[in-house]
């Protein structure tokens, strides 16, 4: 009979059904990064002068910076930033510039992303508006018109620059400064497309908004920029998903997401991250190095982060909230699953500035195979954060004996009335649990999926329904091969 370590043997192949490549004619800028490349990207997007200056300023700052080394990410390679193509876009059919290329339509069909409104209206799924980004450009945004009737702006970032330059200029880099960190500076210099949404005063967005990011071209990186603004009393639920082809090379994804939440507004931001994680030997996969931050600026504002991280060879990501407004609150709910040779260093920062601010952190790490999974968090109570409270819970689940789980929580409390609580647990899937399931006829693979799903339930239950189903499937699929 097999021993536990055989049953829970190091991960083998993972199924990655989104690993296909779309054969489509694309245009590229030359490989490498310099001011000319930035000018070319800006010109392609027909950007105003101020935005070109913003990019060049970011580039000059970036050149003086060095990549952060503090992550527990031994497999993060030295990236040759001159060996990356910074802009790739499918060529438009000159005769039919408004139409979506059939190859793109087919790609998003395969991925189950509805990029035409009638697909959504005809379907049984709940209504969701989609901004679909393919390499460096947004190829379709649905329900723009319906939403605009309520004053909601939902469009690609490039369109927002053209149509709402004042809003973009006002909020861009207002939460993540250009030189915030090495990758944010890089993104500020070369960002191509992403989503923009603005919910006006008092408006509750009638449908979920979502962005779907697809990397397709080889040798490229993706640098999207997303900006979400919820004005006073507004509310919105926003979701993002992403996938990429299977390749032996690493591809860089360095995004910046900024969220501004005004008085009494409510933003729920959900991510299911499914970038290509690399193969069973750790070859290839996306290097996911992103900066996401929200500012709860107004009194009583609320921002909730929910993330399910299953993909990427490397994940370096800390969706954070600055709680500036009095009585503002924020949550960070995370499930990070690593298998094979994946490494994830992820967590959050909760910066309490206002009075009576509240934050809650629930992090569930799951490590299998030879992976390394780290929670890194900062809870800071500023001197003015009277009666602020934080509760953090960091759980780690280990599958097999060749993986690692780590937690790096930092607490800085400068206000004696503030209360910070932290709990942490580490557990394994026990042989007893597996055998109990097996005895009931549940196969070892299904048993691991079931046990992991139960472990992550508190976080999965926070996701919008269809996203939760998708996430549950991903957890199971990504654990396939992590046993016997």
């Amino acid at each position: 009979m097999a021993e536990e370590k055989d049953i829970l043997a190091a991960a083998a192949e993972k199924e990655y059904s989104e690993g296909f490549v779309t054969d489509i004619e694309q245009e590229f800028v030359p490989k490498g990064l310099n001011e000319d490349i930035i000018r070319t990207i800006s010109a392609k997007k027909e950007e105003p002068e101020w935005l070109l200056e913003f990019r060049l300023d970011a580039f000059r700052k970036w050149k003086t910076m060095t990549p952060p080394k503090w992550g527990h990410l031994s497999r993060l390679p030295e990236i040759d930033f001159q060996d990356i193509i910074y802009y790739a876009a499918p060529k438009r059919d000159e005769d039919r510039p408004k139409e979506i290329d059939p190859a793109l339509q087919e790609t998003f069909d395969k991925l189950g992303i509805p990029i035409k409104e009638r697909e959504v209206l005809a379907g049984v799924k709940s209504k969701v508006a989609v901004d679909a980004v393919f390499d460096s450009v947004s190829v379709s945004t649905t329900f723009r018109k319906t939403l605009s009737e309520m004053g909601i702006i939902f469009c690609s970032f490039s369109e927002a620059v053209r149509e709402h330059p004042d809003l973009v200029r006002k909020y861009l880099a207002s939460v993540v400064p250009v030189a915030d960190n090495f990758y944010a500076a890089l993104n500020s210099a070369v960002f191509s497309d992403g989503s923009f949404c603005y919910i006006p005063k008092g408006v509750k967005c009638p449908m979920d908004l979502s962005s779907y990011f697809r990397i397709n071209a080889s040798g490229t990186g993706q640098f999207e920029r997303t900006l979400i603004i919820a004005d006073e009393g507004a509310s919105v639920s926003y979701m993002e998903g992403c996938t990429a082809p299977m390749r032996d090379e690493n591809q860089l994804h360095a995004a910046v997401v900024e969220i501004i939440v005004e008085k009494d507004a409510d933003v729920r931001y959900s991510t299911v991250q499914n970038w290509y994680p690399g193969d069973s030997q750790g070859r290839g996969g996306i290097l996911n190095l992103v900066t996401k931050r929200g500012l709860c600026r107004g009194e009583g504002s609320h921002l909730s982060w929910t993330q399910v991280e299953t993909g990427s060879a490397i994940t370096w990501k800390y969706p954070s909230t600055v709680l500036m407004g009095d009585n503002s609150s924020s949550e960070f709910y995370s499930v990070a699953l690593t298998g094979n040779y994946q490494q994830a260093d992820t967590g959050t920062k909760m910066i309490h500035i206002g009075r009576n601010t509240r934050s809650r952190i629930v992090s569930k790490g799951i490590s299998a195979g030879h992976s390394e999974n780290s929670y890194r968090g900062l809870v800071r109570m500023n001197p003015g954060a009277q009666h602020a409270r934080n509760y953090s819970q960091c759980d780690s689940l280990l599958i097999g004996d060749k993986c690692g789980a780590h937690t790096f929580p930092v607490i800085r409390n400068a206000n004696p009335t503030a209360i910070v609580e932290h709990e942490a647990t580490t557990s394994r899937i026990s042989e007893d649990q597996l055998f109990y399931c097996n005895q009931r006829g549940i196969s070892p693979e299904d048993a691991v999926g079931l046990i992991v799903g139960g472990y992550a339930r508190e976080v999965l239950s926070r996701l919008p329904m269809e996203f939760a189903v998708e996430a549950q499937k991903l957890l199971s699929v990504n654990l396939e091969g992590s046993i016997g």
């Binding site: 009979m1 097999a2 021993e3 536990e4 049953i7 026990s430 042989e431 007893d432 649990q433 055998f435 109990y436 399931c437 097996n438 005895q439 009931r440 006829g441 549940i442 196969s443 070892p444 299904d446 079931l450 046990i451 799903g453 139960g454 472990y455 992550a456 339930r457 508190e458």
Partner: protein
């Protein structure tokens, strides 16, 4: 009729230590056998080996179950073939509801047997029926498997699962230990309800109370890894009045 279970000269143990020193046992379809014995006799080892617990090793002997080589089957294959073990110490699975757990179990078995999965409606009907059978209220279905259950609730949950899976052959490993009179009745009713000319069971116990409610066809006494006596209910009576010491093979 063919035997449902045939154990021949079974030697088995754990961590290199032999606990069962040559067990022979034959169970016909429809029969209920009781296995009694003092602590450390090897009762739980016998149930673990039958269910295929990975940490137990069979050193020699054979087990035929429903005409197949049981020892060549994985634990889940044994389950699909109709073997059910009521655990002496049921295991907690945090975050997994009874409903989801049983749905996975019932449908895994149906799939393995080439049957269609139950629809949500069919499954819920079955769930409600069996919950009523063991006297469980509606909220039970939402509870996490064995998490925060009292000892009695855990055993009741085992009998509930047995009823859900409707096994050909059940092993009750000290399911009666520590139960009050009401819970004991639930266990006995569970076993009696499963009685049919095809279905069999092994009841492992220290005590005669449960056997009074079930009335096994055969009673075995297991001591120091060997079956030292086989008889009827009179054997259980003798153990109750005179103790295991009174029986010598």
């Amino acid at each position: 009729m063919e035997n449902l279970l045939e154990i021949h000269d079974l030697h088995a143990g754990i961590e290199g230590k032999e606990i069962l020193h040559g067990i022979n046992l034959t169970i016909k379809p429809g029969e209920i056998h009781a296995v009694m014995g003092p602590n450390g006799a090897g009762k739980s080892t016998l149930s673990a080996v039958l269910a295929g617990r990975p940490d137990y090793t069979v050193t020699s002997g054979s087990i035929t179950f429903a005409g197949q080589d049981l020892l060549a089957m994985s634990p889940e294959e044994r389950s699909w073939t109709g073997l059910f073990l009521s655990f002496q110490y049921p295991i907690e699975i945090p975050g997994v509801s009874i409903t989801n757990f049983m749905k996975a179990a019932v449908n895994a078995r149906r799939k393995a047997r080439g049957e269609l999965e139950l629809s949500a409606g069919q499954f819920l009907k079955l769930l409600k029926e069996k919950m009523a059978f063991v006297g469980m209220k509606g909220e039970f279905a939402k509870r996490e498997v064995n998490v925060g259950f009292s000892g009695g609730e855990k055993k009741r949950n085992e009998i509930f699962q047995m009823a859900m899976l409707d096994p050909l052959f059940s092993i009750l490993d000290e399911t009666d230990s520590g139960l009050d009179v009401d819970a004991l009745k639930v266990v006995a009713d569970g076993v009696n309800a499963l009685r049919s000319p095809e279905k069999s069971a092994i009841i492992i116990t220290h005590y005669k109370h449960l056997l009074d409610l079930i009335t096994p066809d055969v009673v075995h006494v297991l001591k120091a890894g060997r079956i030292i006596a086989t008889g009827g209910m009179e054997l259980a009576g003798q153990i109750e009045t005179e103790g295991f010491e009174s029986i010598n093979g």
